[in-house]
């Protein structure tokens, strides 16, 4: 299987998947409620910072980190909701502002809390514990890849079907979908779009926080200024591809995470390190292109694209 399927590579892929998947959920839920969360990148950065800051300040270990990440990112999402939903400011503008605030705010907070700049890493920081899965653990390859991941990965994988079920089978899910595609209909039925979108954003903030915690605490626990590295924006792209199929987020996140991880490991087979800044983006563009290429080859493409054709 060699390099491309090595257990190490795939183990890291799944580790990266967990963070990306939760951020995608955090973007997906509000998207179904009709809000494009352009501030996910910023919320995730706050989440990463919260994970580290909470650990250092409370000395509470990994659990404190997890809670800190969720709290920080939820606050950021609530700020987004307050400005974009309650303040009725264009969500694109709000998102860009939130990303500025996250980059600047974490930098200022680093200076205030840790009297320094840049990366925060202290020996006392505790990474998320690794969980060994019984039975799976002893399967060759699979044991190395799937077992021994953080709780966040297992939670992310379990959340995928739960999110889909919730959207399809519950009152809240139905309301969310109606608000997202026909807010006037929701209003006519006595449901408040603003309230639904607020809830979606806040719950989304919790998801994004879990993603941030995974990013900051999965391997070497640390915070560095540019660590989210566009994952919040990538999540936006994945969510737009997934559209009305939430389960699709899982394979999409794994695919992107693979190429992301691959980029950093290509130097092992003699390719330049700088490919790590190119490969993930080529991958995401290819992933974005797949649906439109598939559309072109579908027999009913014309009908889907333009309704009925006219023959005078």
């Amino acid at each position: 299987m060699g390099f491309w399927f090595s257990a190490d590579l795939w183990q890291l892929t799944l580790q990266a998947t967990a963070a990306l998947l939760f951020v995608s959920f955090g973007v997906y839920l509000p998207m179904r409620a009709g809000v494009l969360v352009l501030g996910a990148e910023g919320a995730m950065l706050f989440g990463c910072f919260g994970a580290i800051a909470a650990q250092v300040l409370t000395d509470g270990g990994a659990l404190a980190g997890l809670l800190g990440a969720v709290a920080a990112s939820t606050c950021a999402s609530a700020l987004f909701a307050a400005v974009a939903i309650s303040g009725r400011v264009n969500p694109i503008v709000t998102g860009i502002a939130l990303n500025f605030i996250a980059v600047g705010g974490t930098s200022v907070l680093t200076a205030v809390l840790f009297a320094g700049e840049g990366t925060i890493v202290t020996p006392s920081l505790e990474p998320l514990p690794r969980i060994e899965l019984p039975i799976v653990e002893s399967v060759p390859w699979l044991g190395d890849v799937v077992s021994g991941q953080t709780i966040v990965l297992y939670a992310a994988v379990l959340t995928t079907p739960l999110l889909a079920l919730w959207l399809n089978r519950t009152r809240g899910g139905l309301t969310t979908r109606v608000v997202g595609s026909a807010p006037a209909v929701a209003v006519a039925a006595g449901r408040s779009p603003a309230r639904t979108q607020w809830i979606a954003l806040v719950v989304g903030g919790v998801f994004i926080g879990l993603g941030g915690a995974q990013l900051a605490l999965a391997s070497a626990a640390q915070f560095s200024p540019g660590m989210t590295n566009a994952r919040g924006f990538i999540a936006l792209a994945l969510v737009l591809i997934a559209a009305q199929r939430p389960w699709l987020l899982l394979p999409l996140a794994i695919t992107f995470a693979y190429f992301d991880t691959l980029g950093f490991n290509l130097q092992n087979i003699g390719l330049p390190t700088e490919l790590s800044g190119v490969l993930p983006y080529v991958a995401i563009i290819a992933m974005l292109a797949v649906p439109s290429i598939a559309r072109r080859f579908r027999p009913d493409a014309a009908a889907e694209a333009g309704g009925s054709r006219v023959v005078p």
Partner: protein
Amino acid sequence: MTSHSADPPVHVSAVGLAKSFGPVRALRRADLTVTAGRISALVGENGAGKSTLMQLISGDLSPDSGALDVSTRVGLVRQQLSTVDELSLLENIVFGAESAAGTGSLPRRLVGGINWRSHREGVRDLMARTGLVVPLAKPAAEVPVGVRQRVDILSALYRGARCLLLDEPTTYLTPREVDNLFEVMRDLAAGGMSVVFISHRLREVVQHCDEVNVLRRGESVLHLPAAPFELGQIGRAMTGGEDAAGDVADPVGAARPAAGAAGAPILDVGGRLWVRSGEIVGIAGVSGNGQNELLDTIAGLERDALHLPLTIDGRDVSRSSTRSRRAAGLRFIPESVKESGSAPTASITDNVISAVPPPSVRGRFGLLRRATADHLAQSLVERARVVASSTRQPASELSGGNLQRVAVARELGDGARVLLAHEPTRGVDFAGVALIHAQLREFTGRGGAVLLVTSDVDELLALSDRVHVIDRGRLSRSYERAQLTLGRLGELLGGLGHDAAAARPQEGP
């Protein structure tokens, strides 16, 4: 709540309702009584206050003054259907009533789970009782508009409505579907329900309703408790006695004088559809049967759709851009001028010269001659009798009718040879309709050609020289106006009838 011992129960009783939105008095003094077992009509021109009255009755709004007594559950079916495209029809019907049958186990209630099985049974039962049958599993986006309307009605009934308010329900229906709809309504009324039918199409009202109420400028001006109804009387009440009402009352009566000088075709689409100089050719059909695609193709907006030879004044433009088609004399009034035929935030002047200004306002070095543009706009505003304080005013401040007049006058300006007019009078008040019709006739009078696409059969028969019928993307042969009656047109609209052979088979994509 008042009870009448012997009479059928009164579902809604409204006396002297008034409602204002800021300075606008939408309703001044509206009365309405809705009785179980009856189909009442509520008619009036655009802006007469029909929708406001319905929203008061349905509880969406509350009246400023007057007495309103609603004694049963009311279901409002809006003209703008409220189906959600990405939801299945079952989800659409159940949305808003999920908890009614959705009780179940504790964990399900905790997460707000919906008991889809029991809802499906309930809706199936309702469909069987009413005869309104729809494919529950399909997404709303995949079913025709008539089915979506049934979904809205089912949705109201599923919520237990005993009084149905139908706002312009026949807009998107063929005459046969209209008959079906009224059959269902008749059954529902027989079962003790009440129905209020809101329309501006008097013919349907007269045929199908038990009583008629007329609103004009927010006031109830006429109540006819029983048939027979006289169209002229209703029309006069709607318009306030203006003579033009005769047109509404019997639009089919007077055959249009045959166009004098119908000459060579100005617009020719593959030899199957053509419009000659001085001629108005109508395309009849229910909205959504390919009218948009046909017009977009002719206008050059959708160039991949078909490759038929398309000529304007004999010049082949089938491969030309929209811009060069316009240069050749093609003009287009889109279905919704507000959405596609104007820029609301731009000034009237900018709306007159559009994004591709006419040569007269283009100066040297690519400069725009603003003063000339203002003159052009000023003269157009005067000619089309547009009510505006200044041509610098944003178009959004114009009423719908005035905006439509600006669009029509703009499109019929210099160099126009053939006009594609899609629902040119939708949403326009009575006086505006007459003015726009006059503009179209004046255009053909000076040698222009008009392709008129409208779902309003009265308008179609009043204006057209020849008529094609479009159905599911297929265009029939043309019929001379003189050969057509309303009844015949209705037959043709109801699925092309025995003329299907005349239609061409559909080409592959």
